[in-house]
Amino acid sequence: MSDHSKTDVVVHDGSDPLSVGEKDLDRFPNPGLPEHKHRLSDESEAGAKRVERQIVILFVLSLLASIGGVVGYFVFPLDATLGSVRASTLSIGLGLGVGMLGIGVAAVHWAKALMSDVEQVDERHAQRSDDATRADAIQALKDGADDSRIARRPVLKGALVSAVAVAPLAFVVPLVGNLGGDWNVRKFRYTMWGPGVRLARDPDGGLIRPEQVTIGSVWHVIPDGLLGSEHMLEEKAKAVVLMVRMNPSELTEAPERADWSWDGIVAYSKVCTHVGCPVALYEQQTHHLLCPCHQSTFDVSDGAKVVFGPAKRALPQLPITVDDEGYLVAQSDFHEMVGPSTWERERYSDLPVSDEEKAH
């Protein structure tokens, strides 16, 4: 084999760009196009007539269907249904579809069965320009460059490039500058929760007493006062909480969080620490909380730590207690940023957030 490759060196240098399959000496010759076989419709007028009839029928079918679609638009009231589909949708759609399909199938059938199917041959030419053309092109560019008098004027070149490079900034900076609103990314740090903010049911806003929260139940919670607030969706996106109650003996709590729960009731941010989906699936037996988006699984009985999936951090816990009137309330805001990680999230966690900043 090595002999073989030495004797018949294949030149691939592109000197003849179309020579693929030609330089090897020991090759079979291309046998050329096979003999053309005629179709039935080429040989008998009756066959051709039959094809013509089929094509006409397809066009007529298309015509009728298109008319049917228009009729369907007018005759069917919006609430009329056929089976589970609205009659209007179905009739217009089928009219349009069969109308189009009829034309298409007719045209393709015509092309395949009636139009000449004798194969034709075109020659290819290499993409490359011939040497004379290339020389002319280079000369043209040289002439143009000479005419521009740019060749020995570096300052002019520099000035041109600088001006063109800087000019778009006057467009791009205002565009990008405005895109981010107030750019106050510290808003990620805090939510509506704060000392004494009552826990309310999502979505109706009803307040919650601890005795309503039975062991094993799971509650979707929002801060009282969220509904009707100014930036409702933005606040809700950060403040949603999932609350469960379990037997206090099943609960493992870190010493510094010992008073964050209320008689087995724990509240955690519902925003996944992976990429922010609502963590909504609670499994009562295992106390596992599963994010339906990417299956990060958190153990609610043990600080909502990650037990499986792509999240790294535990869900932030909302410290809760019960106020004088017997409603569940937050002791404070979350002690860390909720939701997915950002570059600076650890920095925020150290910073105390003043009420003025939040009110702002």
Binding site: N30, P31, G104, V121, W183, V275, A280, H294, T342
Partner: protein
């Protein structure tokens, strides 16, 4: 012109009008009878083109009724559907409901639009597979591959921006995932999130912004690139499959007018017709069943559109461990790797592949005759490996559906896919490459021995053989017409005077890549090999099967 009938006279007049103003005659002469080759796989790109036209048409219909606004409204008490009456929602969602229930044909157009988007992406991907596996991306078409690749990326952008517009709870959670991924970008993540949403998620700006991207920026870019794509097809002339009479210097097929006007034009109507029937009968994205966006609820078992599933799967497979805090700053590799690095590697590999292969072959010639995938085993193997990785990610994006349908543990499924993501492509590469080599050996055997006839003959000596019927020239050409590609050979590292050759290390690297591609190979039968196999006389069929072995591959010696 000696025209007689009024119609012919009018046609002549029109032709003269255009020819004397824009030189139409020259164009018609050049293009009317241009020859295009015929093959079903060339239709895949056409499906993409036509579904894009359908997207433009139905999309225009939808813009007449869609309100790209996040202003909160209460859905009217007298409007359909009943379940949504009085519900608080954005105008975007309300207008989507309105066009689905109160505009005749509105739901139909929404559904055609959505199906057309899915088909657009599917046909781009399959078209790209056809181009890849047949080597249609080779010189001079590398740039057109890059153009097509860019259209694929823009198609993803179009699908993503459009999917989010109805502002329903499913697409809203999709946007929230996007927000989470963006936030993980080092240093600027938080600011990128603010830039996209105009403040905190979800804000009131994202729908109008996505709308502008979806109906203006992205489609304009796609349209422009489609134009470039088509012009380059004309400039290069279409590739053709190998066959008798077809060579690198010609193109064999049918003329544009009338055959392709009818076939390709007709095919547009076929694609439109099929999509319209799908839109009429197959419900898709019934957003009123999900409800308007609310940051709290989420549907279990929710799936993005298929072309986004691989990203979803990538996010799902990644374990959470590699999130690090370095000097007080958080680096979320558990998000960056699956959402940025994995697709980045996948797409970069696709985009640069033609240049990589050209470098490995050292071949500077033009290639207009397509490869049979078996004749390029390494490329075919690489392609199948990439597809395998993609499919595993798609399946991983459906792991919850797999778990509930097949009653399996989601944790085990995820672990299996984590393993398969690495092992699957390697196995697929090896198996595919070996299958290709085996198919080539089969081709060789067929050329050398001919067809089995089932006719057994006994010689006077008492020996039995089966009579084989030699291939005709036309049959044989398909199996022997391709040119074998051998690894690049590099000379010694020093010249005759013992001086180290410059750039020798680069040459060694190149030769390694070239060996990876072409060291294992089966070369087509040459006339002398065929003659030799016949030269053995009446026992040729049996003996050539043995001598054949030595000719197949020198892979083991080359290491």
């Amino acid at each position: 012109m000696s025209t007689t009938t009024p119609l012919a006279k009018a046609a002549g007049g029109t032709a003269d009008f255009f020819d004397t103003r824009v030189g139409a005659g020259k164009m018609v002469k050049e293009f009317a009878r241009k020859v295009f080759p015929d093959h079903w796989s060339f239709l895949l790109g056409e499906i993409a083109l036509y579904s894009f036209v359908v997207l433009l048409l139905t999309g225009t219909f939808l813009t007449m009724f869609f309100v790209p606004s996040m202003t909160e409204v209460h859905y009217p008490e007298d409007a359909l559907p009943v379940a949504m009456r009085g519900v608080e929602m954005s105008e975007a969602f309300a207008s989507t409901l309105n066009m689905s229930f109160h505009v005749r044909g509105g739901l139909l157009m929404r559904q055609i639009h959505h199906w057309a988007a899915l088909l657009f992406m599917a046909s781009i991907v399959t078209h790209m597979m056809r181009v890849f596996f047949t080597g249609a991306f080779r010189k001079p078409r590398e740039l057109n591959w890059v153009v097509g690749f860019t259209i694929l990326i823009l198609g993803l952008a179009a699908g993503f921006t459009g999917y989010s517009l109805p502002d329903d709870v499913l697409s809203g959670n999709g946007l929230r995932i996007t927000d989470g991924v963006v936030k993980s970008i080092p240093v600027i993540g938080s600011y990128m999130s603010f830039m996209i949403f105009g403040g905190e998620f979800p804000g009131t700006e994202i729908i109008p912004r996505l709308f502008t991207a979806h109906i203006l920026l992205v489609p304009a870019l796609i349209l422009a690139l489609i134009a470039v794509h088509l012009v380059l097809i004309v400039v290069h002339k279409h590739t053709q499959y190998p066959g008798p009479g077809r060579s690198n210097r010609n193109v064999v097929g049918y003329p544009l007018f009338p055959v392709y006007v009818a076939k390709a034009g007709g095919f547009f109507f076929v694609v439109f017709g099929v999509l319209a029937i799908m839109g009429a009968t197959l419900a898709i994205n019934s957003v009123w069943a999900y409800g308007p966006y609310d940051p709290s609820p989420v549907g279990a078992g929710a799936q993005p559109d298929w072309y986004m599933l691989f990203l979803e799967g990538s996010l799902r497979l990644m374990p959470g461990a590699p999130e690090f805090v370095i000097a007080g700053y958080t680096l979320s590799l558990n998000v960056l790797i699956p959402a940025v690095v994995v697709p980045g590697v996948l797409f970069t590999a696709l985009a640069v592949y033609p240049f990589l292969e050209a470098w490995a072959t050292g071949d500077k010639r033009e290639h207009h005759v397509l490869d049979r995938p078996r004749n390029v085993p390494t490329r075919t193997g690489v392609g199948v490996a990439i597809l395998t990785a993609f499919i595993i990610l798609v399946l991983a994006g459906s792991n919850d559906i797999l778990a509930t349908h097949f009653n399996l543990s989601i944790n085990s499924i995820t672990w299996v896919f984590r393993f398969l993501f690495f092992a699957g492509p390697v196995i697929a590469f090896i198996v595919t490459k070996r299958l290709c080599l085996a198919l080539q050996r089969r081709d060789r055997e067929l050329v050398l021995h001919g067809h089995e006839t089932g006719r057994v003959v006994r010689f006077a000596s008492g020996e039995y053989i089966e009579v084989h019927q030699p291939l005709t020239d036309h049959e044989r050409w398909l199996l022997v017409g391709h040119e074998p590609v051998r690894p690049l050979e590099i000379g010694p590292g020093e010249n005759e005077r013992g001086v180290a050759r410059p750039a020798y290390k680069k040459a060694v690297r190149r030769s390694k890549v070239s060996n990876f591609f072409f060291a294992d190979r089966v070369e087509p039968v040459t006339p002398s090999e065929l003659a030799a196999s016949h030269g053995h006389g009446e026992h040729d069929e049996i003996e050539s099967a043995e001598s054949n072995e030595g000719l197949l591959t020198n892979a083991s010696t080359r290491g």
